[in-house]
Symmetry: D2
Subunit: 284 residues, 4 copies
């Protein structure tokens, strides 16, 4: 995988894009491993492309490749990026008191199912320190008070700025400020314990129980300034019934949350997600 890279593109759709891009990669000696594309409309829509390719020495050649591709990109008015498959991306996992999502990420990181490293854990509580430390992961306790939120976020930013490529809110029960979020566009992933947009806001399992739904869900989404309304990456549901107590919903929910979050993080670190307005294109 050390020779592998990914090219992600979005641009106005028009004929010839795939021909030009694949010709470019071919001429530079790249061998296409996967290619996915999507257009919102062949006439005047937006075109999305992800090409995963093998090119010996791509890590050293990246700056040159980027410079040359920039010229082609200009012709098609592309937003684009080239990303190396290696090294693995670094996760900063933010947690509060619940361990299930953190544990899932730790295990899937070790197994390789989420091809990324948990670089550090940040929490507003001490609760999960033993979990992180048992895995040899640095754990930072950053308490949040309403008065000191600004300073707390400054400290969080200092911790993660150079240490992580993506922030994962793994049942982190604090709301990040728009200023903090603005520093990590499409790079903070949250797991919301509901099938959004149903039951946005607090206590979704209590809400779900009161409404008597027959399925409950969870939603992984990018965090934007608009709480619970960022671009949805992945959703999952499980059946419940009249016998399910609120505690049962929480138990079943834990299972959905960790699966949905792990899938979303895996797609992100594999550069499979393109954000377009308030929606995602996921080349799963």
């Amino acid at each position: 995988m050390s020779h592998r890279a990914r090219l992600l593109i979005s641009c106005p759709d028009r004929p010839g894009i795939v021909a030009a891009v694949s010709q470019f990669l071919f001429e530079h000696g790249a061998n296409l491993a996967h290619s996915d594309q999507h257009t919102t409309d062949p006439q005047g829509g937006v075109f999305f492309l992800r090409m995963e390719f093998d090119l010996p020495g791509v890590d050293g050649a990246l700056p040159e490749l980027e410079r040359e591709f920039g010229m082609l990109a200009g012709r098609f008015d592309m937003e684009w990026r080239l990303a190396l498959a290696r090294p693995r991306k670094r996760l900063a996992v933010f947690v509060s008191r619940e361990e299930h999502c953190l544990l899932e990420l730790l295990w899937q990181s070790r197994s390789g199912d989420v091809p990324a490293d948990v670089a550090l854990v940040v929490s507003n509580h001490e609760t999960l320190r033993p979990v992180a430390e048992a895995w040899g992961i640095p754990y930072h306790h950053v308490p949040i008070t309403s008065a000191g939120k600004r300073q707390a976020e400054a400290r969080q930013q200092a911790l993660v700025e150079h240490a992580a490529d993506v922030i994962v809110l793994a049942r982190y029960m604090q709301i990040l400020s728009p200023e903090f979020v603005g520093q990590w566009p499409s790079r903070i992933i949250n797991i919301h314990h509901s099938f959004l947009p149903a039951f946005a806001g607090a206590n979704p399992y209590v809400q779900a129980h009161q409404r008597g739904v027959k399925l409950i869900g969870a939603t992984a989404h990018y965090v934007t300034a608009d709480l619970d309304a960022g671009p949805i990456i992945e959703q999952g549901v499980e059946r419940v019934d009249h016998r399910s107590s609120v505690e049962d919903l929480r138990r079943i929910g834990r299972y959905i949350e960790r699966m949905v979050l792990a899938r979303a993080v895996a797609w992100h670190v594999d550069d499979r997600i393109l954000v377009h307005g308030n929606k995602t294109v996921v080349f799963a």
Copy 2:
């Protein structure tokens, strides 16, 4: 099945209910085929019981059985009913222009998967008359105008009052008045083309497409005066992705709608649903 009946009970939970009811049925010569129960809380909750039993000659013996059970029921402060498995219940299917839910009910009625008969079809359009008549089902066109809604509902009521046991809104795009709904408590089933409470109201597939959800659903519920908020009977979902257009969502939605509606109707006509406040207990 001609000797089969069902006893449905809800009452304050306290010790001895199952003992008393099962003793009653045993002494009257009934043989228990299925029994399901649920309590919202063993201490001071509400208790629900459904017993399906075989008793030769139960149809003739029903009035006597009801009279005797009434005495026991009084001791436990029960709401209850006895229902014969035969004859099959009669459905009045209300439709507008879309055929998929009607067709599913017609097929499943014929196959026995929904053990009920479609007695008549009522529509505010002529569109589906050929479908109904190809199956030999009476079709009644009752146009709805804002001015004439009262009279239209009077005509609908006259059509169904003695002809049907339950009304199924199979993509019927008109809102029934609280007065009409009040005549059919827990006996009107609607299919809403969304995973409620997400995307209540009009055009849920358009809403879902705009929000970029990764799963879409449908909800079968009893109709109450409060639009889209009646007790949920069943829900289903299917995966969608960025490639799904609004028309794709409608197509996938049609499939979910007919499956969810057919399951809900099958449970209703099998007397498997108890309504409790705004929720259902479904002994599926």
Copy 3:
């Protein structure tokens, strides 16, 4: 859609294929609507490509386009075909006594969810004649006797040879001879009422009940000379439990069968399936 066509390719994987093909289409004025590709191995594997494109006048230009593409195809050692999206493909549906799969195909054909036409129904029984004729579809009764199987298949072939593009075995309970099957390579789709390879052969629901499985399924596959072992196109499952009788399994199975078969047929008529050895590549 009248200007739409699809190009399907399989060939040894090597660099430059996508560049060459997309350049070819671009130079011929085609606008790419969808593109999917797969390689079994970037090093020495087999490469599969499906490109769906819009090209005004493609129906008239097809022979010329095929001639020119043939030269490019030769350079890459491709197996390939160009297929017009219109007119819709014609289905010959073979049935025995059960109607559910036939009904599903008739309805999905009418709704457009399966974008194909049911051209004729062929059966070894008279049972479903009323169903087909209610939809205005020609129905041909071709009885099968062990002595007369050869003649029966000759008659079937005469019926479908020029009238249909694909044969769908919609719960057709007769085994076709290798000779007949050989005339329709990758163009006969069967629905097997089991999650293959579990419970191959007769009476899978009885087998499943005896084994006490907790999920039952159905499998749509291309028919080859090797019974129940052809390339799998699609599979589906549903939960069952200890309460499920063999008849319940059949009922739940009917539902899975018609959904799985309809999906498989829709993919086939959309030219989304490439067969490779005993497996399928489905660009769903």
Copy 4:
């Protein structure tokens, strides 16, 4: 939960069983919390009953309760047992080199989702010692050689005999002898990495890949002398497609395996499973 117990019964079906049992519990002051029943046939079938009840002091009163119930049980020819909800059951987890199922059981035990304690881990390798010891669980390395299998099993039996209530084979890659299995009837749970009976035996993911299936699964079952053929407790599946390599199947499979195994163990320790011949009745 300390006053909670469960009564499990199987016997020939005949009228009056529920009446007699519920009357018995009522007279002894028990308050029914849940009740589930099943009959294979109301006429001459086998009847299964599970009643979960609250009775203050039930732990002390158990011997007396069992003695008295034995008389009633005799009248109905019952197989039965009374089980206390507390203390939690003790698991002996047998592993080889793969950690995912062990980790899942450790987490779910801690969260209470599997209400049982992992008492010890037994392995034919040293690989997972660090995992177990990080959780403070005793780890016993019992190497298996073909010559020394008999002694190894004697040592395993000595380890678990008084320390565990149930043995969980969590990807334990050795075959237990019929003699060992015979000591733990319906108390050894295995996870088979396939949707049985498809792909029984070795390397099911390789088999599945070769066959080109579109769904893969896992099966939790009780271990009997007949390899991979014991009573099925639970099964799960996930979608795969042509892009899935054998390694992808293993990855997806790990996820299914741990979920299916955890569900099966949770049901077992909640006394929700009755074995009948080669099948299970699971009152989930």
